[in-house]
């Protein structure tokens, strides 16, 4: 059994808005093992980005607020750290890759300087050493002519190259945990594959633990060993990649898998899950997916189901797994045609 590097316990995050309190994350439990890649999947508004930003403590406050929970990094609760100690963690122990490389680099600062900032801060490097390391990092992420490139500005790079720069910045101080918040969403498909290959390759080289936030199941199949499916601010199912793709038990996971376009499908229409995600300013009492679930029962709308442990790794929160529930077979459309492996 591998050691947990990061453990999230009963995390609750809310935002104060004019319309009232929005409960974006409602009791999330997660653990990340050393050297593993964990994917958090779910649609927009499911709380996956808020969870990841919470780990970095990048939730703006106000309006954001940690209601309860712990985020243990190597046993220390990050939520209890002072802002100063947290600054020492960010970028050196835990770092982050953002979604849109077109906006996540400062347009008025050379790429080299942006890479060197973290090195100077965390490793007390002087200018010369930091510049040298910046060149090495650019080389590591596969940017040609790094000596010239470090003097250039972000607008002189293409989208894919910028994302490589962002990755270089994130890896600059050899972090133990890397959070990648939809790292390929803003890129076109061929570049997506390159960036994923790069990330996989770097993970092998550096043995960094990765949290991958995405709604793209293709990316999950490609990179992750374990998957957590989020819906309505809660984790509804977790398991390793094979379990989630080949024997999912939660109807929301079925829906997600069904809505993936298949190569062998003859239909022009994409499958979709009918309905919209729940309003988290007034979250449902029971299972958040009940309103959209084709198999919902009376109990689903009233009580949140407990997790059922299906294997050592797979846990699912669904009333269908209760022994009193009717037996429901997963729909055929979840077929793994979309998952490349």
């Amino acid at each position: 059994m591998l050691e947990n590097i990061l453990e999230i316990k009963d995390l609750r995050v809310s935002f104060e808005t004019y319309a009232g309190e929005v409960q974006a994350v409602r009791g999330v439990n997660l653990e990340l093992k050393k050297g593993e890649a964990l994917a958090i999947v779910g649609e927009s508004g499911s709380g996956k980005s808020v969870t990841s930003k919470s780990i970095m403590r990048l939730i703006p406050s106000p309006p954001g607020k940690f209601k309860s929970g712990e985020i243990l990094f190597e046993g220390n609760d990050l939520l209890k750290l002072s802002e100063k100690s947290m600054q020492k963690m960010r970028g050196s122990e835990i770092s982050m890759i953002f979604q849109d490389p077109m906006t996540s680099l400062n347009p008025t600062m050379t790429v080299g300087k942006q890479i060197m900032e973290g090195l100077k801060k965390h490793q007390n490097m002087n200018k010369h050493d930091a510049a040298q390391r910046a060149v090495e990092l650019l080389e590591l992420v596969g940017i040609p002519n790094p000596e010239d490139r470090i003097k250039q500005y972000p607008h002189q790079f293409s989208g894919g190259m910028r994302q490589r720069v962002v990755i270089a910045i994130a890896l600059a101080c050899n972090p133990k945990v890397l959070i990648a918040d939809e790292p390929t969403t803003a890129l076109d498909v061929t570049i997506q594959a390159q960036i994923l290959d790069l990330m996989k390759d770097l993970q092998k080289k550096t043995n960094t633990s990765i949290i991958l936030i995405t709604h793209d199941l293709g990316v999950v199949a490609n990179m992750a060993q374990r998957v957590a499916v989020m819906y309505g601010g809660k984790i509804v199912e977790t398991g390793n990649v094979d379990e989630i793709f080949y024997s999912p038990k939660h109807p929301y996971t079925w829906g997600l898998l069904s809505s993936m376009p298949k190569l062998d499908s003859k239909s022009d229409e994409l499958m979709a899950i009918p309905g919209t995600p729940p309003d988290l300013s007034n979250p449902p009492k029971g299972c958040p997916f009940a309103a959209r679930c084709p198999h919902a029962m009376k109990v689903c709308t009233e009580h949140m189901p407990e997790y059922t442990e299906l294997s050592e790794t797979q846990k699912t929160a669904c009333w269908l797994l209760d022994e009193r529930a009717p037996k429901v077979e997963p729909p055929e459309t979840i077929g793994v045609g979309g998952a490349q492996k």
Binding site: M56, R90, G91, N106, P107, T108, K121
Partner: protein, 309 residues
């Protein structure tokens, strides 16, 4: 970059020519005569004076003659101050106005940027609201009202500062404040909005994710990006300062070019009107040109775009 600068200089020359021409004809439409007691002079004397100054020729001819003289750097001789050339009048007045204008602009821009940044960083607090109230007041209260209120309270009632004139640092305080308040208000509002936008952008999150301290994030990442649009409104705010100075110089009896301009219009002193207009327009044109260059220095994306064209 060189091609870009040359192109801009050519445009400036064209603009300058248009300004000179339009003001020349507009001035000829001014009512009244340049001679103080035209009625007493008698028609013969007036005709003789008109001949001496070339006013008996058709206006297009006068225009050509004037342009020719301007090209040779000769702005003519004043009607009101006997024997003094416009060049020498301007030369004696400009330093005072420049002094006033530069002080007001520097103070206005600096305070505006600082207040705007503070308001953005403390968004939604009483500090933010306080700055915005000052900004609204600064925009809506005309400088001459503020000037007179200050004269009354600080000059007449409290006697802390001299009511008028332009000697000694104390005499600068009120006119500079009166002139600067407008720019402080405009720049603070712009700066606040820009900074709020920048603080919400991904690269600020990214900078924080690197573990930079809050001051480092604000100064290295947020300030510079917020200043890009500010550079473009410094010149418009300078224009406010200059137009404002026409009135302010009058109120505080400051012997500057604005004061001179107003009296030359009242007395139909054609050469001085034209000379001052030319001076102002050169000043504006160069100012706008410098703004564009400054833009490029602050924002590298513009630098490159300019160089490619």
């Amino acid at each position: 970059m060189v091609a870009y600068i040359l192109k801009r200089i050519l445009y400036m020359l064209i603009t300058f020519f248009v300004i000179v021409s339009l003001s020349f004809f507009a001035m000829k439409l001014l009512p009244g005569s340049p001679y103080r007691n035209a009625a007493k002079l008698g028609p013969e004397l007036v005709a003789q004076l008109n001949h001496q100054y070339g006013f008996d020729k058709p206006i297009p001819v006068q225009y050509i003659n004037y342009l020719n003289k301007v090209l040779h750097g000769d702005l003519g001789v004043s009607f009101q101050y006997e024997g003094r050339t416009v060049n020498s009048i301007l030369a004696s007045k400009v330093p005072v106005s420049a002094d006033l204008g530069i002080e007001a602009t520097i103070i206005g821009v600096l305070i505006g940027i600082i207040l705007g940044a503070i308001a953005a960083l403390r968004r939604g607090t009483w500090l933010d609201y306080g700055v915005m109230v000052i900004a609204v007041l600064g925009i809506s209260v005309p400088s001459f009202i503020l000037a007179q209120l200050m004269q009354y309270y600080f000059g007449v009632q409290l006697r802390w500062l001299p009511v008028a004139k332009w000697d000694g640092i104390e005499s600068h305080i009120m006119p500079v404040i009166a002139l600067a308040v407008g720019s402080v208000a405009v720049i603070a509002r712009y700066m606040r909005n820009e900074m709020i936008g920048v603080l919400g952008s991904d690269y600020i999150d990214m900078a924080r994710a690197k573990g930079l301290s809050r001051p480092a994030v604000v100064i290295k990442h947020a300030m510079r990006n917020s200043l890009v649009p500010i550079a473009t409104i410094v010149i418009p705010s300078l224009m406010t300062v200059i137009t404002g100075s026409l009135v302010i110089e009058n109120i505080f009896a400051i012997p500057g070019i604005g004061d001179q301009f107003v009296s030359s219009i009242v007395t139909n002193d054609y050469p001085v009107i034209m000379g001052t207009t030319i001076l102002f327009s050169i000043f504006f044109l160069v100012g706008i040109f410098l703004t564009d260059l400054a833009y490029g220095v602050i924002d590298p994306r513009i630098r490159v775009a300019g160089g490619d064209s």
